[in-house]
Amino acid sequence: MLFLLAVVIGVLYGSAVYLLLRRNIFKLVLGLIFLGHATNLLLFVASGLTSGYPAFLRNIAGETEMMADPLPQALILTAIVIGLGVTAFALVLVYRFYSVTKTVDLDELSENE
């Protein structure tokens, strides 16, 4: 499981960086989304995986010792919500940029810089 997740995170980061380096700003937003997901997974894995147990105590004899750490899950939940907000804003921003300038390429406007 750990290995699989490590591969998934790596692929997500790779794709995110690739998309961020594109000149199309819609792809840039996609890259941001990927980056957010990769990091949420990283947070999940780095703070310790416990497979097969819930993040709360069950009142079953012998199982009281085993539970997944709930804190990383709470952190990821927070990070997902924040990521959603930023993504929504970025999408609106990019759409505004497109409707004002009729282009999706940032560099096309940079001559006067």
Binding site: L28, A46, R96, V100
Partner: protein
């Protein structure tokens, strides 16, 4: 109890202002009074912390390592007071500068959203909570920088949003890795464990990720390119607010983390930060020299000046930290002031481009004076505060034996003077170019705000002694992390 107010009150103000968006005069008056209120509150907090030492508040009465802790030591209180004061000045400035459309489109509520995030980041004692405050602050700044929606602003915003998001990603990743190794998020608890554990996990990787996240925010070398590409796009009042508050939060966090968490490979971190500081200072100032837009010159100077603060931190002797804190206060005031004065030039002449400006010394001597004071302060001319800041930093550098960085700091000071004199010569002294006899109306409140801030800069220079004394106390607290740890955890063993 006083600790929660700087966070709760801006939230309350923001909600009130959102619902009264259409009443322009109410917005202006209320924002001004509210920001003055926050400044008074911050002053009271500073007084309390100065007398009693670090103050803490455990949210929801959860004991320290489990709940979220709010803590204010002297450094946090000083930063809080300076930020609130900058906000007051910008609130006086805005009615006379920002157009009516932006003002009623939610400018005032957003400023308080920004202040809530900044204050939260200063006061929190929990790293994940700090990430959340960073996001609160950034989200407000995203909207502020895009507010108005001109093509240039949108282009700047896209760059700004992207780089800020990437920095936040570094921040979260670092938190995840650190939590996996240390098992706690409370900053005092982390610092205590790092100093007492026998088998300390290797945490430099996480610290380096933190460093990247904060140095993007503070615009350190080599992560500063976003700043001059985006800061000049919104109206200058917003730029001034950002220059005075946002980048300084990155510096504050770096101070906090360096004093608490750097326990492994101390020498590596010191040299690393010294190199970064030297490069930030010199690259920033050299790039400023080739610019002709007032806002861009000043933006590059933000970068250069941040280098001085990091230099004080890297030397990490009590004197150097105290000097860096004093320098930060001076920079928040003087930098905001130069931006505001640049805005006055724009209102008067209709341009920020030095090639189209000129003759303002003759036609508007008072405006010239309002720029002259903070510019000479940034350049380090006595008796203005920039001189004392640089003097104490360089003195600290010599005392600690870090001669090379000290030499760099002195050289950069000369170049700063060059840039300031360049703006002065081009915009104020030289004859106005033909046909460019701008005679725009300058808002009274904008002039008043700039004058208030210039007076504050002069006062900071005159009362350098007492302010330096408080900075010294703050530095002593910062240099001894046990002061912080004991305040949060009630541990008294050394």
């Amino acid at each position: 109890m006083i600790l929660i107010l700087p966070i709760i009150l801006p939230l309350l103000f923001m909600v009130i202002l959102i619902f009264t968006r259409r009443w322009l005069f109410f917005q202006q008056a209320f924002s001004l009074l509210a920001s003055i209120g926050l400044t008074v509150l911050a002053a009271l907090l500073l007084k309390q912390v100065y007398i009693d030492g670090a103050t803490t508040l455990q949210m929801g009465s959860w004991p320290a390592p489990y709940g979220i802790t709010l803590i204010s030591d002297l450094l946090a209180a000083i930063m809080l007071l300076t930020t609130s004061f900058v906000a007051v000045v910008v609130m006086i400035y805005s009615p006379g500068f920002i157009d009516r459309e932006r003002q009623t489109a939610g400018y005032y509520p957003l400023v308080f959203g920004l202040l809530m995030g900044v204050n939260g980041a200063f006061l929190t004692g929990d790293i994940f909570n700090m990430y959340v405050w960073y996001e609160v602050m950034l989200t407000s700044s995203f909207v502020l920088i895009a507010l108005g929606g001109s093509a240039e602003q949108l282009r700047g915003s896209i760059k700004y949003v992207t780089i800020s998001f990437v920095a936040s990603i570094f921040f979260v990743a670092a938190i995840g890795i650190l939590y996996g190794q240390a098992g706690t998020l409370n900053m005092a608890d982390l610092a205590y464990k790092m100093r007492t554990w026998e088998n300390m996990p290797y945490i430099n990787g996480a610290l380096m990720l933190f460093f990247v996240a904060f140095s993007v925010k503070a615009a350190l070398f080599p992560f500063f390119f976003w700043l001059p590409a985006s800061y000049h796009t919104p109206p200058v009042a917003i730029t001034a607010l950002f220059a005075g508050t946002l980048t300084k939060v990155g510096i504050y966090t770096m101070f906090r983390f360096y004093s608490l968490f750097v326990v492994q490979d101390v020498l590596f971190w010191k040299i690393f930060l010294l190199v970064i500081a030297g490069l930030t200072m010199s690259v920033g100032v050299l790039m400023a020299a080739s610019q002709f837009d007032i806002r861009k010159i000043l933006s590059f100077h933000i970068i250069s000046q941040v280098g001085y603060m990091v230099m004080g931190l890297a030397i990490f002797s009590t004197n150097a930290i105290a000097a860096a804190i004093y320098f930060t206060i001076h920079n928040m005031l003087s930098k905001t002031n130069t931006f505001l004065a640049g805005g006055l030039v724009y209102q008067r002449s209709g341009s920020y481009d030095l090639k189209h400006l000129g003759g303002l010394y003759k036609t508007a001597p008072f405006l010239a004076l309002l720029f002259f004071i903070p510019a000479m302060s940034l350049a380090g001319i006595p008796p203005l505060p920039g001189f004392f800041g640089k003097f104490f930093l360089i003195k600290g550098g010599f005392e600690a034996g870090d001669y090379f960085i000290t030499a760099v700091a002195i050289a950069v000071g000369l170049f700063t003077l060059f840039s300031m004199v360049k703006i002065w010569n081009e915009a104020y002294w030289k004859k106005a170019p033909d046909g460019e006899t701008g005679n725009g109306k300058v808002g009274t409140s904008a002039i008043a705000a700039t004058a208030v801030l210039a007076a504050a800069v002069v006062l900071l220079g005159i009362f350098a002694g007492p302010v330096m004394e408080i900075s010294q106390q703050a530095a002593i607290q910062l240099a001894d992390p046990y002061h912080y740890i004991e305040a949060v955890l009630n541990i008294s063993s050394k």
